[in-house]
Structure formats: structure tokens, C-alpha cells
């Protein structure tokens, strides 16, 4: 393991100076974005293209009595008006969700959340389509909604899912993990038990580009081309084939440049299906692009876990067990995107980074009259909730024991010799060396000095807080024996072709929403095969032109597809070695690989470059017996385990005692994602997640009024951090390679989103210690912090 303190300088770096392989390299995709030449879904203009707009429910829960489209159909420029009844006639009114539930494409019987899709209009332009929505008359019978999940299972609660045969309540599913009896036994003999109710409020990923699609159905070819804002083009293609009955080879899903995803673009939304239907009905290409309000009220939310956490420990601060009870709000349809066997995602890693004797979690999920979703916003399949739970309750324990929270963690972290470590809920942590990571974060922060400063300030009545969080993630889903989405194994393919002149193209099954795959994957291949990254083009996001795989979410691109890229390059290199042996007239055993060429052992002057080999592979000369021409390979990589990145975060806040405004003064993030491919891109991933953390901890929440009106339906109401709420991040890293990943890399895309909210909340609660505050729920807005200071901290609703 190496430990390095990193503050990258803003010095000039030129790709021409970049040697083969890993290291800081400028992004290959940047030039098009810098010139305004990115190609996002809404940038696509096809000849004769029409525009689609969706009529949405103003009510959270209401019966549809009638829908009259006469006036809308008669409006000039309107080409089609489609209702749920029309879709039902084609058996398309309902579609399966990624969790085995069903969701209405267009409502037929009832609307079940505000913003639900009721009808759509296809017209000549955006504005005409929008205008025509106003002409559709819908008669509703308004029903009582279920808004607060805590009331969903009350005997008199209105029934939301009466579409499900035999359904009599709003129960969605139960789930448990760990050993209840063993955990109870440990709790019974523990010196100290601390219990806290902890809410992770409903938030929204709100990528800058909203969701949308352009559907172009060619009736003569029988082919559907769909440009859509999807993080998983291959999985979507298969699902469209299953849902719509279109033959899979006649569907091409293209995910062009995507303006941020964060899990918001994993599910299939009704709008995509509407665009497809619109194109089939009109015989023209149809574009649907939602506006910001539609994005916030109807697409995949995140979190919404109401948790009771309990921790058992000795008086000396040895953590013994954690027990938790969760009420999960899944909205009106269970649209969670998670592997089938994991209805709560990877929440099972709530035991965190600590050596426990026992752990148990019991969860009940319910339906409410809110938008569906749940797994999104860079959550690594609910690890955000798990890490928040454990890191908050550990801080509550530190409060009760009057121990320093960093010291308490240090005493309980897993030791390097315990890896691979099987947690009490059955997760096998691949590798970790936690103490140096926390130590580095404390050194960078100047932890002891900060505590001294805090003591001085407290004496003066000033409120300064220092928050510590340590996390372990589980990313890179996943081994196909355990993990699938609707029956599709979570493997990823990769294809590499080396052209005759030694330039190459690599095709990925994952795609980028800004993560920089065109650079990182070129570097992975370059490192393995010795072709400079600038000579390697990376293709992704087009199902007709890339191998099958499950896409980019849950920080899985580098752990899964990155492994595939390394292995496919090694496969090509193995073939190149045989050809090289023929060219040099030696046996393959006599060759050694030296970044970009094969040399005869002991005679470095005798060598051939990968470019020479590529030309020979495609040329007219002889090849060794049994060797086919060409220099290319394809593989499908099935990971043997997840990868387990970890990190230590320290946040310093100042709270204004007069206004209760929280200012994040400093944030120190030390991440360990194993082997680092491009440190610049890794740092960028961390920075973005840290800003997410500031948003969730201090500002963001999708709230509802008692009637089910969404109170976060625009960016005026749903507050996202700007440059003024965020500090200049201080990042560092340690390196503990993954033992099973071909290059030792782990995921990094969501670490900071997972790890930063508890660090910030812990800092604010620490600042409020003079007020006797042990816990306050997010978002810690000035009014909620003020209430906590007055001893009236309340859970958010």
C-alpha cells in the first residue's frame, strides 16, 4: 500500500507528453464539449421530426372518470393524442418496472402520484404540443392520498394499488438480513445501547440534462431507433423487446452524450415508451424532452428511508452490534432499480467499516402516493443510506460515551489482516487498510489543532463543528450467480480491434454520463497493449455497435467494464505474442513484453512493436500455423466479487448562532479506490460527490404537503448547491488494490456522495453540542438547525 497526499497543481499538461497507460491525462472528449459540439438527446434533429408533450396528473390520488381529447385533436398542428385507454387497447398501458412490479405508462383507472402520466400529444413543434395539453379535459374524482409512509399501513389507509389482484393494503415488501437472535443476545449483555431515529429524506438526482428521447420507427425496415437519456442502453433494448414485443435485433438504442445521470437515467420512464408509440402512430420521428418540473416530480427519486438505529457497545467504546428497523417509502410503484435478490439494494452493508459481533436489519417497504424510484443519486444501490445510518449512530455512541468520534472509529476499524472480511450480513470485503486512510485525513485536516480551535471558540460562544465519517462501499455489480436485473446477468462485454496501422478501437457495453470513459478506457487498454491512448478510440452508448452489458450505474464501469477492457487487451496481446514469435523466428517463451513491443529475451535489439505486429496480422505475409488474420478480440467479464472502496472524510463547519446558517468551511476527503487510472478524473468524481453531500445534508429535499403536492417541483424550490455553498475540496488518497480485479481498480463514482452527508451532519451536530443536540435530520436548513438549537429537532416530512 502506498500513501500519498495529493493536491494537483494547475500546471499545463499535454497529452502528447503522456506516456502509455495510467496517469493524469487530459480528457479526449473535452474538445467537442468546449466548442458546444456535444450531442445530447435534445440536440438531435431528424427530418420531419414531431414533438411530444405529456399531460400529467395535478392530483396525488384520484380516479379518472373521463378523458376528452376532442378539442386537442382538432387543434392545428396536432398529429396525435393518445390516452391510457388507447394504450390499453394495444395492451401497452402498463409496463414492468426493474423491480418486478408494474407501472402505468399512461393512467387508465387512477392516478397514483402528482405528475403521473395521463395522456400525450404529438404535434409539429414543442409549443403546439404543450398548448394542446391545455385542451384535454380530464374529469377526476379526488381520493384521499397516503403521503407519510408512517401511515401507509394504518388499517384505514386508502388503498393505492387496487390494480394488483387481491391487494388489500399498501404493503410493498418485507426484507431482513443478519442474525436477529445473535444480535439480541449481544444487545442484552452490552454495557451501553444507544438508539436514534434517523431519516434519510427523499431527494432527487436532478441531472442538468432532464430525461428525454427521440424515437424513429421505420415501418418499412421494421426498425426502431431510439436516442434516449439512458445509462443502460443494452438493458433498455432488451426490455423494450420484452415489453413492446418488437424483435430485439430491430431495436437500436443510442445513448449519445448524456448531461449527467446519477441514477436518474437508469429506469425506463413512461415518456420513452410514449415517444416510441408516438413514432409508430404518426410514422414520423418523435422527440420527447421533459422540462425541469417534470423531471423533479415524476422521475426516479432517491432515499426516503425512515430508520431506527441501535448500537451496542462496551463502556470502553468497543462496538459490539448494530440493529436497525427501516420503513422504506417506495412511492406508488416499486420502480427501484436494483439486482433482483436485493430489494433493499446493498443496504446490507450497514455494518460499515467496523468489526462487529452481530448485526440485524428488518425492513418494511410501503407504497405511498408519491413518484416511484428509490435507487438513484449516486447511491451505490442504497449504500448512501447504510453508511449514513452507521456513521450517524457511531457518532451518537461517541456522544454518549463522551469519546472523540475519530478515536472511537479508530478503535473499531477492521484491521488489514482481517481481509478478505466476511461481514455479519454476509458481504465479503475484498481488501482494505483502513487506519492509514483515517490517519491521513486527520493529518491533512490538522485534527488536533481543529479540536483546540473548537474548544477556544466554544468558550467564546461560537459554534464550530468537526465531523468525521468513515465508509466502506460495495460496488461493481456484480457476480452473475447472485446478481441480475430482470433476469439479465450483470456482466459486461468489451471488444478491441487493432487496425493494420496500429491504431485501435475499443467498444464498451457501459456508457458515460460525464465520467470520462473515452479517456479512462483508452488508458486502461493503452496500459495493457502499449498503444498510446490518443491512438485508441472508445465507442459506447450504441447497442448496434457495442457488445452487450448492463450499463453505467452503481460505480460499476471501472470494476466490471474496466476489467473487461483490460482482459480483452491482454487477449489481443496474447495473440500478438504468437505473431511476434513468428516474425522474430523464436518461440513465444523467448519473448518478453516491454510496453508496446515484444523483445527477444536477452537481446533487446531484436524486437517488434505492437504496430508492426498489427500490420503483419492484417498483411499478406505468413502467420504462424493456426493463427487467423486480424488482431482483435471480444470478451464478456463476469466479476467474481464486488469491489470495496473505502474512505475517511472530515468536515469543518461554522454555524451562526444568530441565524443558524451552516457554512462548510473545509472538507477533507481521503479515498481509496485501489489502483488509480487517471487521478484527474478520480478527483473530479470525488469533488462532484462532495457537492452532492452538501446538497443533501444542508439543502435538498423533495417534500410534499398533506394533499400530496410536490413542494420541490422546480429549482426555485429544490435547492442545489452553487459555488457559494461549496468549499475548495481537499483531497488525498491511499491505494489498496482489489485482489480480484485484473488491474486492482475499484469504483470511485459514488464514494463521495455516500461518505459526505454523514461527515457534514456529524459536523453540524458537533457544532450544536453546547445545545445538547445528539441528532438532527437532514436537510439542515437554517430553520431546522434553529429548531434543533431550541430543543425541537423534528424529522422532515
Amino acid at each position: 500500500m502506498t500513501t500519498v497526499h495529493e493536491r494537483p497543481a494547475d500546471t499545463f499538461h499535454d497529452n502528447a507528453q503522456k506516456p502509455v497507460g495510467h496517469g493524469r491525462m487530459l480528457r479526449k472528449e473535452d474538445p467537442r464539449f468546449l466548442r458546444g459540439r456535444g450531442r445530447y438527446v435534445d440536440d438531435i434533429q431528424l427530418p420531419g421530426m414531431l414533438h411530444l408533450a405529456i399531460l400529467r396528473s395535478p392530483f396525488a390520488h384520484a380516479r379518472i372518470l373521463s378523458v376528452d381529447t376532442t378539442a386537442a385533436e382538432a387543434a392545428p398542428g396536432v398529429r396525435a393524442v393518445v390516452t391510457g385507454a388507447a394504450l390499453a387497447a394495444q395492451n401497452l398501458a402498463w409496463m414492468p418496472t426493474l423491480s418486478g412490479d408494474v407501472q402505468a405508462v399512461l393512467a387508465t383507472d387512477k392516478v397514483r402520484f402528482q405528475g403521473q402520466e395521463v395522456a400525450f400529444v404529438v404535434a409539429d413543434d414543442r409549443y403546439t404540443a404543450r398548448d394542446a395539453l391545455e385542451l384535454i379535459e380530464v374529469e377526476y374524482e379526488v381520493l384521499d392520498p397516503v403521503i407519510d409512509a408512517r401511515t401507509a399501513l394504518a388499517p384505514d389507509a386508502p388503498l393505492i394499488r387496487d390494480d394488483l389482484e387481491g391487494k388489500t393494503n399498501n404493503h410493498c415488501f418485507d426484507w431482513e438480513t443478519g442474525d436477529a437472535a445473535a444480535t439480541d443476545a449481544v444487545f442484552a449483555r452490552a454495557d451501553v445501547v444507544v438508539t436514534e431515529d434517523i431519516v434519510y429524506p427523499r431527494v432527487h438526482p436532478a441531472p442538468m440534462e432532464t430525461c428525454g428521447a427521440v424515437a424513429d420507427f421505420d415501418a418499412i425496415e421494421g426498425k426502431l431507433r431510439l436516442w434516449s437519456t439512458t445509462q443502460a442502453p443494452h438493458a433498455h433494448r432488451t426490455l423494450y423487446a420484452i415489453v413492446a414485443g418488437l424483435p430485439e435485433h430491430k431495436i437500436q438504442v443510442i445513448s449519445p452524450d448524456i448531461g449527467g445521470g446519477f441514477g436518474n437515467k437508469v429506469p425506463i420512464y413512461p415518456g420513452y415508451v410514449c415517444a416510441i408509440v408516438g413514432s409508430i402512430v404518426t410514422g414520423k420521428p418523435v422527440k420527447w424532452m421533459e422540462d425541469r418540473s417534470e423531471n423533479l416530480i415524476s422521475t426516479g427519486f432517491a432515499r426516503d428511508y425512515i430508520m431506527r438505529a441501535q448500537i451496542a457497545a462496551t463502556r470502553e467504546g468497543k462496538i459490539l452490534a448494530i440493529r436497525t428497523d427501516v420503513l422504506a417509502d417506495h412511492g406508488a410503484f416499486n420502480g427501484t432499480a436494483a439486482p433482483v435478490k436485493y430489494p433493499a439494494g446493498f443496504f446490507g452493508v450497514f455494518t460499515g467499516s467496523y468489526d462487529l459481533e452481530a448485526a440485524y436489519c428488518k425492513m418494511t417497504a410501503v407504497y405511498t402516493n408519491k413518484a416511484p424510484g428509490g435507487v438513484a443519486y449516486a447511491c451505490s444501490f442504497r449504500i448512501t443510506e447504510a453508511v449514513y445510518l452507521v456513521e450517524r449512530i457511531v457518532d451518537c455512541l461517541a456522544y454518549e460515551l463522551d469519546l472523540d468520534p475519530a478515536e472511537l472509529r479508530m478503535r473499531n476499524l477492521l484491521k488489514p489482516e482481517q481481509f478478505p472480511y466476511t461481514s455479519k450480513t454476509g458481504w465479503v470485503y475484498d481488501s482494505g487498510n483502513y487506519e492509514p486512510t483515517l490517519r491521513l485525513a486527520m493529518d491533512m485536516a490538522g485534527y488536533a489543532d481543529l479540536r483546540r480551535e473548537q474548544a477556544e471558540k466554544r468558550a467564546r460562544g461560537e459554534l464550530m463543528g468537526i465531523g468525521v465519517a468513515f465508509f466502506t462501499e460495495a460496488v461493481g455489480a456484480g457476480p452473475r450467480k447472485d446478481m441480475d436485473i430482470l433476469g439479465l446477468g450483470m456482466a459486461d462485454g468489451c471488444e478491441l480491434r487493432v487496425h493494420p496501422t496500429g491504431k485501435a478501437v475499443v467498444r464498451l457495453s457501459v456508457q458515460s454520463q460525464g465520467q470520462g470513459h473515452e479517456t479512462t478506457f483508452a488508458q486502461i487498454v493503452a496500459e495493457e497493449i502499449g498503444i498510446p491512448p490518443d491512438d485508441i478510440d472508445v465507442l459506447h452508448g450504441d447497442t448496434d455497435n457495442t457488445p452487450f452489458g448492463l450499463g453505467t450505474y452503481g460505480s460499476r464501469s471501472t470494476p466490471v467494464s474496466g476489467a473487461a477492457a483490460a482482459l480483452v487487451a491482454r487477449k489481443v496481446r496474447d495473440k500478438a505474442r504468437i505473431i511476434a514469435a513468428g516474425m522474430l523466428e523464436v518461440s513465444v517463451a523467448d519473448l518478453e513484453w516491454e510496453k508496446g513491443s515484444f523483445q527477444v529475451k536477452g537481446d533487446p535489439g531484436k524486437s517488434v512493436t505492437i504496430q508492426d505486429i498489427a500490420m503483419r496480422a492484417h498483411g499478406a505475409g505468413d502467420l504462424p500455423d493456426g493463427v487467423e488474420g486480424g488482431l482483435e478480440a471480444q470478451i464478456c467479464y463476469n466479476p467474481s466479487n464486488l469491489t470495496y472502496p473505502h474512505g475517511a472524510y472530515i468536515c469543518v463547519v461554522d454555524v451562526d448562532p444568530g441565524t443558524a446558517v451552516v457554512k462548510v468551511r473545509r472538507f477533507i476527503a481521503v479515498d481509496d479506490c485501489g489502483t488509480r487510472i487517471n487521478p484527474m478524473i478520480i478527483e473530479g468524481q470525488v469533488h462532484g460527490g462532495l457537492a452532492d453531500g452538501v446538497g443533501m445534508a444542508l439543502m435538498e429535499m423533495i417534500a410534499f404537503d398533506p394533499d400530496g403536492n410536490c413542494l420541490g417541483a422546480s429549482l426555485m424550490d429544490y435547492l442545489i448547491p452553487t459555488a457559494l455553498e461549496t468549499p475548495d475540496w481537499e483531497t488525498g488518497f491511499t491505494v489498496t488494490p482489489s485482489p480480484h480485479h485484473p488491474i486492482g481498480a475499484k469504483g470511485i463514482g459514488e464514494s463521495a456522495t455516500v461518505g459526505s452527508p454523514p461527515a457534514i451532519v456529524n459536523a453540524v451536530v458537533d457544532a450544536l453540542r453546547p445545545y445538547g443536540v445528539r441528532h438532527a435530520d437532514m436537510p439542515l436548513t437554517p430553520s431546522r438547525v434553529w429548531e434543533a438549537m431550541q430543543g425541537r429537532a423534528r424529522p422532515p416530512v
Partner: protein, 174 residues
């Protein structure tokens, strides 16, 4: 109106927003549409040299005025220092907020060639980025400021050594 130094004339609906005119009518899709409420700033362009949010400007209001978009930021093949800075300092990831951020950054540097970190943060505070956490955007703008200061210094040196004529060809960064 004049867009990126080219005069354009079109018959349009009175209610057409400038962002949609630029994108859908002129095909200048570098300017993005992100929120409708003037909060996100992905639609920032210049109107007579001032950064504006084009989702809340009617195209008709821009009639007779000068509009500059991200497509008009580079000088031919040569990227503006702001564009170079964003590449050098990883100031962009998904690229969706980037055109608006760069237009604001260029306008800031034209008025204040040596902005502090806080001044840069204030200048871009009406715009949202979900990917970068802003620190690298701030560094990108500082990179451009330092780069331009270096260019100006070089220019001043060459002006001193070359008695006459150099000033006439110097030009301003815009």
C-alpha cells in the same frame, strides 16, 4: 439579430424563447435548456456583451442586438483561454453546464482580468453544475486569468523591444 457576428433574420412566433430560437431554429445546440426558471444557467449567452439566461429572454427581444454563444467563443481553430482552462483543470465532466459557465467566465475576465477565487464563485453562483463540485471550474477560470496575464506580459515585452506598431496588432482578449 446578429449571432456570433453573423446577421440572421427569421419570421418567428412572438413567444419563442431565445434559447429555443438558438437551438431549434439556428441549430446552435451548444446553448442548453435546463430549468425554465433562470436557476440553472445552462442557457447563458451574451446579449450585447452581457451574460443573460436565454430561457427567460424572448427571441424577439434580441432583435437588432448582438448575441454571442459558446459556438462563437473560440477564434477559429484556437480555443479561447477559458476553454483551454476548462480542459487543463478538468472543469467539465458531462459538459451540459459548461457552455454557460464558460460564457460567464469569459465575461468576468473581460471585466476583471485577475479575479479572486471568491469573485469567480460569485460570478458563477447563478449557475449549477452537478458533476464538478465547482472547485475545478474555479481553477479553470484562474488558469485562464493567469494564462492571459502571461500573454499580456509577453506582448508588453515584445512591444518594448519593438519600438512601434505592435500595439496596433495586439487586440484585446475579446
Amino acid at each position: 439579430m446578429t449571432v456570433n457576428d453573423t446577421e440572421v433574420t427569421r419570421e418567428i412566433e412572438g413567444r419563442l424563447l431565445l434559447v429555443h430560437f438558438l437551438r431549434d431554429v439556428l441549430g446552435l445546440t451548444g446553448t442548453h435548456w435546463g430549468c425554465d426558471t433562470s436557476n440553472c444557467g445552462t442557457c447563458v449567452v451574451w446579449l450585447d456583451g452581457e451574460p443573460v439566461k436565454s430561457c427567460t429572454v424572448l427571441a424577439a427581444m434580441a432583435g437588432g442586438h448582438q448575441v454571442r454563444t459558446v459556438e462563437g467563443l473560440a477564434k477559429g481553430a484556437e480555443l479561447d483561454p477559458v476553454q483551454q482552462g476548462f480542459m487543463q483543470c478538468h472543469g467539465l465532466q458531462c459538459g451540459f453546464c459548461t457552455p454557460g459557465m464558460m460564457m460567464t467566465a469569459r465575461a468576468l475576465l473581460d471585466r476583471n482580468p485577475d479575479p479572486s477565487e471568491q469573485e469567480i464563485r460569485e460570478a458563477i453562483s447563478g449557475q449549477i453544475c452537478r458533476c464538478t463540485g465547482y472547485a475545478t471550474i474555479v481553477r479553470s477560470v484562474r488558469w485562464a486569468a493567469v494564462h492571459e496575464a502571461g500573454e499580456r506580459a509577453k506582448l508588453a515585452e515584445s512591444t518594448e523591444s519593438d519600438d512601434a506598431g505592435a500595439i496596433a496588432t495586439a487586440g484585446s482578449p475579446t
